[in-house]
């Protein structure tokens, strides 16, 4: 049971949970959060792939990929949340 196997399975589990949440959740905020879980799961799998037995240093390329993935994910989340806020404002003004 080396760490990469444990965390690899964790990554897949988290991705699966995130995917189910993203597709089946009704609430907008919950769907954004579920997608963020998926991205963390994806990060897990790539970091696990880069892991080497301790004496060897891990492969830096997947690390760069995951960092880029995180930055891209945060900008996408920011835009999605801005859309949600704007929709909430419009829906609230329509109801009032």
């Amino acid at each position: 049971m080396t760490p990469d196997l444990i965390y690899g399975l964790t990554g897949i589990a988290v991705f699966g949970i995130g995917l189910v949440g993203a597709l089946c959740a009704q609430d907008r905020l919950r769907r954004v959060l579920a997608l963020k879980l998926c991205s963390v799961g994806a990060g897990f799998l790539l970091v696990v792939g880069a892991w080497r037995e301790p004496p060897a240093t891990p492969d830096p390329v997947p690390h760069a990929l995951v960092i880029t993935g995180i930055v891209v994910m945060v900008s996408a989340t920011a835009v999605a949340l801005a859309l949600i806020r704007r929709l909430q404002t419009l829906e609230a003004t329509d109801e009032r």
């Binding site: 990469d4 089946c24 609430d27 905020l29 799998l45 080497r52 891209v72 994910m73």
Partner: protein
């Protein structure tokens, strides 16, 4: 007997999965976000265990920190707009047309298929794949930096990183286009605890941020992590209304957003010529150029993330802005 670290890994993995399930199934939105933030920090810890400090730092600072703050702000906006600020639990606004069961089942099937595909791809992957880390190691001396991840990010695959900063710029332009107006809600009453915290923490955060940027050349750190930490300063200032964005500041703000991208692109182009191609830093100046780029990009990322948190273009009422939260 099994080595203690393996038990720690198992426990951590279980905690992470449990938190993921909990955050999606809990009904109250606020506790959902708090659970998510804990989940993010634990997964950053897991990545430290997988000897990926850079990624752990990025996940903690950007993936969980900034995203958590954005989620909380959106929740606050939801409650403020729907007037349920006072209520104990803010339940999610269920959409008017509930999705029929058939589609949810189809989605579930689709998710199962994808996860299965993932499992096959993961288990099939050879343990130590033939990555080109060997090539990276051998080319490191010409890259002007010692830390391989920064080398990959800012030299070998600098084009990717430039486009990544462009993604951030696109995000802030889109957010400014979606939302506009001034926020004139009263400043929250911040007791002495905050004053004390601010006097001590803010300068420390700035120092930590710049250190992270500087150490990036040799050790885990770099532009994105440093930028995110500096953005935390911006977030705190915005939260406490120490700084309220004014329409007049828009020019400076736009300049700051584009600064990182423009500088990076200009450096990338100006080095071309005299037998060199774009992005090919001359060997002797490589380190200084990379640090210049990193510095400017860090500043730009900090301001952009803060603006993303603020979430709207500060437009006066006259120009069609609205005043609410």
């Amino acid at each position: 007997m099994t080595d203690p670290l393996m038990i720690f890994d198992l426990l951590l993995a279980l905690a992470i999965v449990a938190l993921a399930v909990a955050s999606l199934s809990v009904r109250d939105l606020f506790s959902m976000i708090v659970l998510f933030i804990i989940f993010g920090l634990l997964s950053a810890l897991a990545w430290v265990r997988l000897s990926a400090p850079d990624v752990a730092l990025a996940e903690a600072a950007i993936g969980t920190g900034v995203t958590g703050a954005l989620l909380l702000k959106t929740l606050h906006h939801l409650r403020y707009v729907s007037g349920t600020l006072g209520q104990q639990t803010a339940l999610g606004v269920t959409p008017v047309a509930p999705v029929p069961m058939g589609i949810i089942l189809a989605n579930a099937g689709f998710c199962g298929l994808i996860t299965l595909g993932l499992l096959v791809a993961f288990l099939g992957a050879p343990a130590t794949g033939p990555g080109f880390d060997a090539l990276v190691a051998e080319a490191m001396p010409q890259s002007g930096v010692e830390h391989p991840v920064t080398g990959v990010l800012l030299n070998f695959r600098a084009y990717d990183t430039l486009m990544e900063v462009v993604v951030l710029l696109a995000a802030v332009i889109a957010v400014w286009q979606i939302e506009r107006g001034l926020s004139d809600a009263p400043a929250p009453v911040m007791g002495e605890v905050w004053q004390g915290f601010a006097r001590l923490a803010l300068p420390a955060i700035v120092v930590v941020g710049t250190y992270l940027l500087w150490v990036g050349a040799e050790a885990p750190g770099g532009a994105f992590q440093g930028g995110a930490v500096l953005a935390a300063v911006g977030l705190l200032l915005l939260l406490t209304r120490a700084y309220i964005p004014q329409p007049a500041h828009r020019g400076v703000a736009r300049g700051a957003f584009v600064l990182g991208t423009a500088a990076f692109a200009l450096v990338a182009i100006l080095v071309a010529g005299g037998g060199r191609v774009a992005f090919e830093y001359p060997l002797e100046h490589a380190k200084t150029l990379i640090l210049l780029i990193e510095g400017v990009v860090t500043l730009s990322i900090a301001v952009t993330l803060a603006a993303l948190f603020h979430g709207r273009e500060p437009v006066a009422l006259s120009e069609g802005g609205r005043h609410d939260t």
